[in-house]
């Protein structure tokens, strides 16, 4: 009698507890299915990578994933003569394109962010839509133009690549400059700083994450571009890496090992940029402390 009476008493003293967080069997099996699916998708992405690494050191590389007959010959091939030259061409082409696009983009973004410009709204909208125009539409007329003035070479091609990435870069940088408070700029103007000094010392450093992101975007698009250099560069010795890869596929047979080795080398700058951008963004926005809101 007392034992039976004690239980409800104790329950009344203690606050009511919610049911324990025990995962039900059904939830567990659902999770398992999800994990298996994810693993399959992951493998679909990872297998080509694995092939790339294995084939690059395989003397008898083919399209299939197999245990490699170790060799360094593929890398030696990939770094020899014209192949090495194509990597250098890629660096020059992407570098020049990035520098042009980022400087012009930052200046344009500043003007669009700060100055009173008639028809600014429609102008910005036009910029946004221009960034979506397919390159394939542009490249033939540009080819006509370039061939007329004898510009079918590496540097003019970089210029065109810069122009194509400009709209998006302007938009990206403008958003960051918009976030820089005007007061900060006016404070600098009160100190007799000119527009150039304001740009390089105040607005530039504050919008640096945006400018950096835009530069990385510009570099990666130029680095991976295939169609534009293919059409706009006539001299084979000026062709960038993306076209060199294409050259490994001959009429008679495909040099899988060379393709893999070259692709790995070709991917290195992008991986480096990835690491750099992670550092750039970890610093985050340094706008805190500028103004108290």
């Amino acid at each position: 009698m007392t034992a039976v009476g004690a239980a409800p008493e104790a329950a009344a003293r203690r606050p009511a507890m919610p049911p324990a967080n025990r995962a039900s069997l059904r939830a567990l099996s659902g999770q398992a299915i999800a994990n298996v699916l994810l693993a399959i998708f992951g493998a679909l992405f990872l297998l080509p990578m694995l092939w790339l690494v294995l084939a690059s050191v395989d003397a008898n590389a083919s399209w299939s994933v197999e245990v490699p007959h170790l060799t360094a010959a593929n890398f030696a091939d990939a770094l020899s003569g014209s192949n090495l030259q194509s990597i250098i061409n890629s660096i020059v082409m992407s570098g020049v394109s990035t520098v042009i696009a980022t400087i012009c983009g930052a200046l344009a973004a500043y003007a669009l962010s700060r100055r009173r410009i008639p028809w600014k709204g429609p102008l910005l909208l036009a910029v946004l839509f221009l960034s979506g125009v397919p390159l394939a539409i542009l490249v033939i007329p540009v080819f006509q133009m370039y061939s007329a003035i004898g510009w079918l070479s590496l540097l003019p091609c970089s210029l065109f690549l810069a122009v194509t990435s400009l709209p998006f870069e302007i938009y990206l940088i403008k958003n960051f400059i918009d976030a820089v408070p005007r007061d900060v700029e006016e404070a600098a103007r009160m100190e007799r700083a000119g527009t150039f000094q304001i740009l390089t010392r105040v607005v530039g450093p504050l919008a640096l994450p945006g400018i950096g992101a835009a530069a990385i975007y510009g570099f990666v698009t130029a680095w991976g571009s295939f169609l534009v250099p293919l059409v706009l560069i006539t001299d084979p010795s000026q062709q960038p890496g993306s076209i060199a890869i294409f050259g490994f596929i001959g009429n008679a047979y495909v040099r899988y090992g060379d393709i893999a080795a070259f692709s790995l080398i070709y991917a290195v700058p992008i991986l480096l940029l990835y690491a750099l951008s992670a550092r750039l963004f970890r610093g985050g926005f340094v706008l805190s402390g500028a103004v108290k809101g």
Binding site: P181, D183, V184, E186, A187, A188, R189, M190, E191, R192, A193, Q197, R201, V202, P205, L206, V286, L287, S288, G289, A290, V291, K292, G293
Partner: protein
């Protein structure tokens, strides 16, 4: 030498009402002038025109006898403290302070000495290596102030510099700003605020703006004792002045006012030509007390008590009289109960009279009888009051 002058300055934005309308104002060398008014009254726009960040639509601005209307901000020998502080977040405190001199290519050694000097004055010497993001509000405020002090300008502009600080810090910084201003003897300061207490406590002179127009400029005492319009009368002073409709009549050549069922003779001179008309009668709560303590000749008004606000040294009680609710100052004890009959009284000498149509004061401030109250026409030199 006139320090600074607004000459019929207008600022218009598109077709909206003017942000600043026909502003004419002289500011003496070394003066502390406060521009005060509700938000949107044009005080910040006026300040920005002094800074050179805005160009007047019409009119000229003079500094030290030179027309600076078209001179860009950096070349005016003017420093500004922004409401938001506007520190450079990417630079350390040291670099924030040194930014101006560096841009102006002053010698490095001189910059270092100057920064240390200013940091010493403001007590931020230990913060020079920090970034603004790591500072408290008060510290940021000091850095912003220091950045403005670095160049020893002839004119200091401050745009509500204390509005982002908490109440205790605000009072402390107020005193520090006054001390700082005294230290920089020849530097004039133009200070913008919406807080009339700040205006009265800090300004050598205070200019009250409303809807872009300058209503009155004078020493804090002048504004308090002789407000030129109803707006100034109610804006300056806390609690706000009681304003009640009344009727002015001239009886036997002597002006008499009827209001709240009472009638009294105005013991001070009115503007020449003052005739019978509707007026607004202004009585400050501090001039309205319990009838029992009132002197002979005081005007007594009966009513019932309503809300009472205890301030520590006194009680400001709302008294419902027939036709109006008045705020009166009562002694701190006994605490009046609500809805009790009470009689309050004021001395007719303390009354302010305004034309109910033009809202302007109809007291004759040029008359010797009111000389002690000072006249808004004669601008007192800075530093003589306070």
């Amino acid at each position: 030498m006139p320090g600074l002058r607004f000459e019929h300055v207008w600022k218009l934005y598109g077709r909206q009402a003017p942000a600043v309308a026909d502003l004419s104002l002289d500011i003496a060398e070394g003066e502390f002038l406060v521009l005060v008014g509700a938000s949107g009254c044009g005080k910040t726009t006026s300040l920005r025109m002094l800074a050179g960040l805005e160009r007047p639509s019409y009119g000229r601005i003079w500094m030290g006898g030179k027309d600076v209307t078209d001179i860009p901000p950096g070349r005016r020998d003017v420093s500004m403290v922004f409401q938001s502080y506007a520190l450079y977040p990417n630079m350390t405190v040291y670099k924030n302070l040194a930014f101006g001199p560096r841009v102006r290519r002053e010698p490095r050694e001189h910059i270092r000495r100057r920064v240390e000097e200013v940091a010493e004055i403001l007590g931020i010497g230990g913060l020079l290596d920090r970034h603004p993001g790591e500072l408290s509000g008060g510290q940021r405020q000091r850095v912003a102030l220091g950045r403005a002090m670095i160049r020893e300008p002839s004119l200091f502009l401050m745009d509500e510099p204390l509005s982002n600080l908490d109440a205790a810090l605000r009072v402390q910084m107020r005193a520090e700003l006054i001390r700082l201003h005294k230290r920089l003897e020849r530097t004039a300061t133009v200070y913008v605020t919406h807080d009339q207490v700040e205006a009265l406590t800090m300004g050598d002179r205070v200019a009250v703006l409303k809807d872009g127009s300058l209503l009155q400029v004078g020493t804090p005492a002048e504004l308090y004792d002789a407000p030129a319009t109803v707006y100034v009368a109610t804006f300056i002073g806390s609690p706000a002045m009681n304003v009640i409709p009344g009727r002015l009549s001239i009886v036997g050549g002597r002006p008499r006012v009827a209001c709240l069922g009472a009638e009294f003779e105005v013991p001070w001179p009115l503007r020449p030509g003052a005739a019978a008309r509707d007026v607004l009668v202004g009585i400050r709560p501090d001039d309205l007390g319990p009838a029992a303590r009132a002197p002979r000749g005081a005007v007594r008004i009966g009513g019932r008590t309503d809300v009472c606000e205890q301030t520590g040294i006194a009680i400001y009680a709302t008294v419902n009289c027939p036709g109006a609710a008045l705020v009166a100052r009562l002694p701190r004890s006994p605490v009046p109960a609500a809805n009790q009959p009470i009689e309050v009284a004021f001395d007719p000498r303390d009354v302010h009279l305004f034309d109910s149509r033009t809202q302007a004061s109809i007291a004759d401030r040029s008359h010797p009888a009111l000389a002690g109250v000072a006249s808004p026409a004669a601008a007192a030199p800075p530093g003589t009051t306070k």
